[in-house]
């Protein structure tokens, strides 16, 4: 920005009408850009007046307060009512509240994204100032002028904008006549839509997107020039009489409302009347100590509790803790499993309040690690609930506090590369097939080639006028807000009506409302939100617990298991990477790290979960950590302060908290700066804000005697962390669930798998993979059956009356597949089948047909071979079912089928049917069948690879069950092959994949010839050399098995 701008000293101006890009597809500048530009142009003030919205004001406010800009910001909003345009400005807090109220009313009446103001709304405004922008229509303006004088007497001005359009003088003299007629003062305004004239093209582009037209088709509906922007004072002085400009400053002076006045009040009902918040919190904590530490808390723990309570009191966070306590108490009463996480969740206070199960004795908690006065960040507690029952918790919050006082925070959905490219392309006239082609061919993970360069490779000439426009507009549009959506579970609860603090609008989900601010906005204003999140694993664990209670008569819960000493048996299983279905450590990347990291205690799991993330991987932190932990590399700390921060992770920063602490102790960041750094980290890919901290960090560190090299390395690591950096406070909570699920898998595998299967969809693995894993663990699995299966998967005892023992290797329990597994089978049909099942079971297909199920459901049952107990085979069952005559009432009693069907399904047919109807086959595996039919070349089975030496050339075959090319591994694809004995991990280098694209892309059954590599901890990978697509063998199998018949 040039610094030579010197306006005339005598001119004063405040822009009172200004729409940012939160007036979606109207304004063409971010709120931050607007206030910055207004400051640069030396305006006295700027009002942010998005149309029926307050969504952009907090960002503008944050920009001013973070950078200490000496400019006043006025809060307001523009409204169009019956074709009349007015802008309401908020001089004080009451005005702000009423403005929020009418926005809420108008938004709640209309569909998402629209608003519907009523006359009553406008009449109810008693404090706002009003700027009237006449329409130019003689009679309409006179009517509306009269209305305004009647209801807004003494606080209405007539705003005149000059955009240098045709016939402008006529409009101005019309306005002047109106002003004279109604005795109104005139105020000058630019009605800005852009902060800078250069945004005109983008504004046109947004306009065209809004109208669904090409830009060139907008014609005279578009802006005719670039005047709808913030203009220099000199220019304004030429355009408007001084009096009009002065009036703008006078109005601005009347507006004294500042967003910092918004103090948040927690609902009072969570507090019994006779206590202060502090007292009540202490009582609850004392009660908790009795429960959590039945033998009494040690002095050390007592001290920490005192320290925490003091800090909570100083920051006045008692209500926040009490509110969450209230929510989890509800969940506990309803037996909904939950687990708290986040910066404040792992305090001992939260442990005592039963918000978290992380036992402080197992993790050396320093409360300040999670919450600190200096850092001045709001406490963060997210609570995960069972995903199938979270709605109950949400409904509880709504009923307890009422819809007036509760709403979900918004998420601002922004244009990203694909959406921006598509929309811009459409309005400048690129045809859709080309756009699809560009979008599908641009690899955003390619770090060597920017998308701009890739587009030019795909045929867009970046030097041509059109190419330039295209690329430039896409660049500008990325990051622009598009609409407001609902945050995953961040609730804001207040003492009074929420709509007096922030406007509320409808979300696309029925009966959901969102506030117009997102979580960053709430943080800026220091408003607290309660995160009510959903987690599938909690559902699975709860289901496993109840099965164990039913079949083994043991009543377990999460705190009980975590309070047990670390179980070497369980950790042995984890070290072998036998973790399919175990929370967090089940992904391919996590699994390949387990044998190297060899976790032996709870804290190792905390590290494991945080370290196998894109952040630490990109920052190259894993190898040093492993070397140092194994004692192969010496750990040196540049100073005792750094040692204190990094000691627990061998001098390698692994957690997000450590990075923040380092910035504070080593580079002298203040609490506020560290908080800024934390925010920049979480969004640096989006805006690159992180680079602002580079100089400060390196300077700070060199001043404190650290080498420049060390400082640079730290900054690189921070960048690598980027938005993926994982906080220890979350990892600690996840590790609890990881341990509990691993424990269940070890001791109660049957219950564990059933719990998981009944909670799908969740986690990494499909039902097929889970059942494959169950079979490898010698768990017996039985297929779907109309006479044996229930809706859910269940446990069935082969010899009833024989209760299993904890840890016994062979139980007589087996897993019976539930009918829910069958595709295209509706839940109510299943319930009918189960409900009307006779005691001795169904005897014939017709008996089931008489239940009146839709024929598609019967067909689905037949495909899944669920009639196996009453029909010869599925072809026979289907043939009977296909006959529509039998559906007629007359034939209902006609029980025997009049024609028989002789075709028998082959093994292959059964396999195909199994996969088609349930997505898995219990008895058959394609590789097993192919191998029995001698169709496969010589190959190694998955379970035999363990005995093959390092660097051997091997050939393996399997069904492709996973294909991942993570952004962290440049161009490498990890393929998982499955045969009937286990999984095989294959690594395909980019070059091999490119050369053998055909097999790489299409194969369902893949043969790999490659080198077996055995890494640390016996991790086995096959480095692919040749990829051979063997999918065609399946069709040969078809004929082959037919011949066997």
């Amino acid at each position: 920005m040039a610094t030579s701008y010197k306006p005339d000293r005598h001119i004063g101006f405040a822009e009172l009408v200004c729409q940012t890009n939160f007036s979606f597809l109207h304004g063409a500048s971010h709120p931050q850009e607007m206030v910055r530009q207004a400051y640069f142009l030396q305006y006295k003030a700027i009002a942010i007046t998005d149309e029926c919205s307050m969504a952009g004001i907090v960002r503008a406010y944050a920009e001013i307060s973070q950078n200490h800009l000496p400019i006043k910001m006025i809060v307001g909003s523009k409204f169009i009512f019956n074709g009349n345009t007015i802008v309401l400005l908020c001089p004080n807090k009451s005005a702000y509240s009423e403005c929020c109220r009418i926005i809420t009313n108008a938004r709640r009446r209309a569909n998402k994204g629209e608003y519907e103001l009523s006359e009553w709304d406008l009449k109810s405004i008693k404090h706002c100032l009003c700027i009237w922008l006449p329409s130019g229509d003689e009679s309409k303006d006179h009517d509306w002028g009269r209305w305004l004088i009647k209801h807004y007497f003494g606080r209405v001005w007539l705003g005149i904008k000059r955009w240098l359009t045709a016939n402008e003088y006529e409009y101005i003299s019309h306005c002047e006549t109106l002003a004279e007629h109604f005795s109104l003062e005139i105020v000058a305004t630019s009605c800005a839509l852009m902060h800078d004239p250069n945004r005109q093209a983008l504004q046109h582009c947004q306009h065209a997107i809004r109208e669904g037209k090409l830009i060139k088709e907008l014609g005279r509906d578009a802006l005719s020039n670039q005047e709808a922007c913030l203009r220099p004072l000199n220019k304004l002085a030429n355009l408007y009489p001084k009096e009009w400009l002065d009036n703008s400053v006078l109005i601005a002076k009347l507006c004294t409302f500042d967003l910092s006045e918004l103090a948040y009040q927690y609902p009072a009902e969570i507090l019994p009347a006779k206590y202060t918040p502090s007292e009540y919190l202490r009582i609850l904590v004392e009660e908790g100590i009795q429960k959590r530490f039945p033998h009494g808390a040690s002095q050390g723990i007592r001290d920490i509790i005192e320290k925490e309570l003091k800090l909570i009191h100083e920051q006045a966070y008692e209500y926040f803790f009490l509110t969450i306590y209230d929510v989890v108490q509800f969940a506990k009463a309803k037996q909904i499993l939950y687990q708290g996480r986040g910066s404040a969740a792992n305090s001992i206070v939260c442990y005592c309040l039963e918000i978290t199960a992380v036992d402080p004795r197992q993790i050396s908690v320093l409360f300040e690690r999670f919450i600190s006065k200096e850092r001045n960040e709001p406490p963060d507690i997210d609570v995960d609930f069972e995903h199938e029952r979270r709605e109950e918790v949400i409904q509880y919050i709504y009923t307890k506090y009422g819809r007036e006082r509760t709403a979900i925070a918004a998420t601002v959905v922004c244009y990203r590369f694909k959406s921006a490219l598509r929309e811009v392309g459409k309005v400048i006239g690129v045809n859709t097939t080309d756009l699809d082609y560009f979008i599908k061919n641009v690899n955003r993970r390619d770090r060597d080639l920017s998308w701009q360069a890739q587009l030019s490779e795909l045929g867009i000439d970046p030097d041509s006028q059109n190419g330039k426009h295209f690329i430039h507009l896409v660049e500008q549009l990325i990051g622009f807000p598009r609409h407001l959506s609902q945050h995953v579970g961040g609730f804001v609860i207040s003492a009074g009506p929420l709509y007096e603090m922030v406007p509320i609008e409808n979300a696309s989900m029925q009966d959901r409302t969102v506030i117009q601010w997102d979580k960053d906005d709430l943080e800026t204003l220091k408003l607290l939100k309660v995160d009510v999140l959903a987690l599938g694993m909690l559902t699975a664990i709860r289901k496993s617990f109840s099965l164990i209670k039913q079949y083994y008569k043991h009543d377990y819960n999460i705190p009980f298991i975590t309070a047990l000493p670390d179980d070497p048996q369980v950790f042995k299983q984890i070290q072998k990477a036998d973790t399919v279905g175990v929370f967090q450590i089940e992904s391919r990347a996590q699994m390949s790290m387990l044998p190297r990291l060899k976790p032996t205690k709870y804290y190792d799991l905390v590290v494991q979960i945080a370290i196998v993330r894109p952040g630490p991987i990109q920052g190259d932190m894993i190898h040093p950590y492993l070397l140092r932990r194994d004692g192969k590399e010496h750990v040196e700390y540049p100073s005792p302060e750094v040692k204190k921060v990094l000691e627990r992770t061998m001098g390698v920063p692994i957690f997000q908290e450590q990075v923040i602490q380092l910035a504070m102790v080593a580079a002298g960041f203040t609490g506020g700066e560290a908080d800024g750094l934390r925010r920049a980290m979480s969004s640096w890919k989006k805006n690159g804000d992180l680079y602002k901290f580079k100089q400060k960090l390196t300077d700070g560190m060199t001043q404190r005697g650290y080498s420049h090299d060390y400082a640079m390395r730290l900054f690189e690591q921070i960048c690598g962390f980027g938005e993926y950096g994982f906080p220890e406070s979350h990892s600690a909570s996840f590790a609890v669930l990881a341990y509990v699920s691993a424990w269940l898998k070890h001791y109660y595998p049957e219950a564990f798998y059933v719990g998981l299967l009944n909670s799908l969809p969740m986690g990494f693995y499909s039902a097929s993979q889970l059942i494959q894993d169950a079979k490898l663990h010698h768990v017996k699995v039985l297929g779907c059956c109309v006479n044996k299966s229930n809706y859910d998967h269940s446990l069935q005892r082969l010899n009833p009356g024989n209760a299993g023992e904890l840890g016994s290797q062979s139980t007589d329990l087996s897993i019976r597949m539930g009918l829910r597994l069958i595709k295209r089978l509706k839940a109510d049909s299943i319930n009918t089948v189960v409900k009307y099942r006779p005691i001795g079971g169904y005897q014939s297909i017709d008996q089931i047909r008489q239940l009146g199920l839709p024929s598609s459901c019967l067909q689905a049952l037949a495909s899944a071979d669920a009639f196996s107990s009453i029909a010869d085979n599925r072809y026979q069952a289907r043939w009977e079912l296909m006959d529509s005559v039998m559906e007629l009432p007359l034939f209902a009693q006609h029980t025997t089928a009049n024609d028989s069907y002789s075709k028998q399904p082959s093994l292959f047919d059964n396999l195909v049917e199994d996969y088609a109807s349930t997505g898995l086959s219990i008895d058959l595996h394609p590789i097993e069948l192919l191998s029995q039919a001698n169709l496969l070349p010589k190959f190694y089975l998955a379970n035999s690879l363990i005995n093959v030496p390092h660097q051997t050339l091997v050939s393996v075959v399997g069904v492709v069950t996973g294909k991942q090319s993570p952004g962290t591994a440049a161009g490498v694809t990890f393929i998982t092959l499955e045969d009937h004995t286990g999984n095989i991990n294959v690594v395909v280098w980019q070059a091999s994949a490119r050369e053998q694209k055909k097999a790489y892309m299409n194969a369902k059954i893949l043969q790999i010839k490659g080198i077996l590599e055995r890494g640390d901890g016996d991790v086995v990978h096959i480095i692919a050399g040749r990829l051979i697509d063997q999918t065609h063998l399946l069709s040969q199998l078809d004929t082959k098995t037919r011949e066997f018949r």
């Binding site: 359009t165 014609g219 005279r220 005719s224 289907r878």
Partner: protein, 487 residues
């Protein structure tokens, strides 16, 4: 129309029409451009965006592993430099019609099976051609003129012929046994049976026609849809399909040979008038009108001359046509004597479709259109342009000349013109070099960044000392121009 099941039918299956047409087009271009180096063949696909499926693909694309039915994303991962064209059914249908038109000269009963096939009834042509082989020889000759990928099969039922052909066969025989054998090997997937029913059948183990025929037709009666049952019955030869035969489009063509050669165009007119009378009669009977006719003059010692005569309004009267032709012929010089004349009218418009509201401005419209036709005939099509309004801020873009005629609907949609703009606009602005006083303004126009005609000007209404009101503008570098005058 329904046919007995004893007729022999041939089905021509052309699965890659759009691709073939594009390839042929590309070849023509590269033949014309000899300087081009021979390049590696490129992978080319025809893609259906709504289905997100590759529908047609060339050999190169096949070689790389792209398959029919693949999504665009997978296809473009396999090949980074893929030539993608959007599927347009009209291209294939048009090509089928053209092919049918050509075949109509050699065979009578043709049915177009959109979008990729033709049925030919061979049975009734066998006597004319003597044998199937001879008949087929003639058909092949016609087909091979186009470089289409074509598969074919014959059978005594249309559906059987179609099914065998769809297995990409080249199989024309009249032996019932052989056909039956071939049929038995066919897959159920390529039949016209309802997709849902096919799935049902497959899932009771019926995958080929042979499997299907194992069960009696009656067993399926209550098990599949009526439509599927009909197809099954046709495949078994137990009932016949209903088809609608191809009718060549109507067109008028008439040739007359002159009694003696005529060398002057003026003398030709009365003769042409006679021919036009015949055309008038032809149109009158069919309640038709024409917008365009072709006149070909065959010269004794030179190449024939073809003239396309257009009318702005659809007309039929010979006198009207003759007026236009007379104007056109004024410039026409003959190289040698004309011995024959052809008059051809390719497209006949229906008279009813012409709007005839009693109170509309029909008469003035007709007069204007007649004038337009005559001007075009006299001056040439490209020489006559009409003013058209274009919605744009830039004065020079507001009015454009175009050879196209604006329809009434388009006229209704356009906005009223600017009120404050001068009646007379200079084609190119001229520098302002007289003293003027500014009356009104500025109107700032900064627009047009999207089409490389970006302008940034301030317009003013000004008056000269003589009282002449004019429209002037100032550019961003402070130069002044006159752009128009108010009259």
């Amino acid at each position: 129309m329904q046919f007995d099941t004893s007729s022999l039918w041939i089905y021509l299956y052309l699965p890659n029409l759009q691709l073939n047409i594009q390839q042929a087009h590309a070849e023509q271009l590269s033949d014309a451009d000899e300087t081009r180096e021979i390049q590696e063949p490129v992978a080319q696909i025809i893609y259906h965006p709504k289905l997100n499926q590759v529908l047609q693909l060339n050999a190169q694309a096949q070689k790389l592993g792209i398959k029919k039915g693949m999504g665009l994303a997978s296809a473009s991962i396999i090949c980074g430099h893929l030539v993608v064209s959007e599927y347009k059914e009209t291209i294939a249908v048009q090509a089928l019609q053209e092919l049918a038109n050509q075949l109509y000269l050699v065979t009578s009963d043709i049915v177009i099976d959109e979008p990729s096939g033709l049925f030919l009834r061979a049975q009734n042509m066998l006597r004319l051609y003597g044998s199937l082989a001879q008949y087929w020889q003639v058909i092949l000759e016609v087909i091979s003129k186009q470089s289409y990928d074509v598969y074919y099969a014959s059978a005594y039922s249309v559906n059987v012929a179609k099914l065998i052909a769809k297995h990409e066969q080249h199989y024309v025989v009249d032996d019932k046994k052989q056909i039956q054998q071939k049929l038995q090997q066919c897959s159920l997937l390529l039949t016209d049976i309802d997709k849902k029913d096919i799935e049902k059948l497959q899932r009771i183990g019926i995958k080929s026609i042979a499997d299907l025929f194992e069960q009696p037709l009656s067993a399926f009666a209550s098990r599949v849809s009526k439509f599927s049952l009909q197809i099954m019955s046709e495949l078994r030869g137990e009932s016949a399909a209903k088809l609608r035969f191809y009718q060549p489009p109507q067109q008028y063509e008439h040739y007359i040979e002159l009694l003696y050669d005529i060398e002057l165009t003026a003398r030709l007119l009365p003769v042409i008038g006679k021919c036009l009378d015949a055309l008038e009669g032809y149109l009158l009977v069919r309640n038709g009108l024409a917008l365009s006719i072709h006149i070909t003059l065959f010269q004794r010692e030179h190449e024939p001359i073809t003239q396309v005569i257009n009318s702005a309004l659809p007309i039929y009267k010979s006198a009207h046509w003759l007026d236009i032709i007379a104007l056109r012929f004024e410039h026409l010089a003959l190289s040698s004597g004309v011995y024959g004349i052809t008059i051809k009218c390719e497209k006949i418009e229906l008279a009813d479709s012409v709007e005839s509201d009693f109170f509309s401005e029909k008469s003035t419209h007709v007069a204007a259109m007649t004038l337009l036709s005559r001007l075009k005939a006299k001056l040439g099509e490209q020489q006559v342009k009409l003013m058209q309004y274009h919605d744009d801020y830039r004065p020079e873009c507001c009015t454009q000349l175009s050879t196209k005629i604006i329809t009434k609907n388009q006229k209704k949609n356009s906005k009223p013109y600017f009120l404050d703009r001068p009646g007379f606009l200079l084609q190119t602005p001229t520098p302002l070099n007289i003293k003027v006083s500014i009356i009104d303004g500025p109107e700032r126009i900064a627009s047009g960044w999207w089409d490389n005609h970006e302008i940034q000007r301030d317009y003013f209404l000004a008056e000269s000392h003589q009282g002449q009101q004019m429209w002037i503008f100032r550019t961003i570098d402070d130069n002044w121009f006159v752009h128009g005058y108010f009259i």
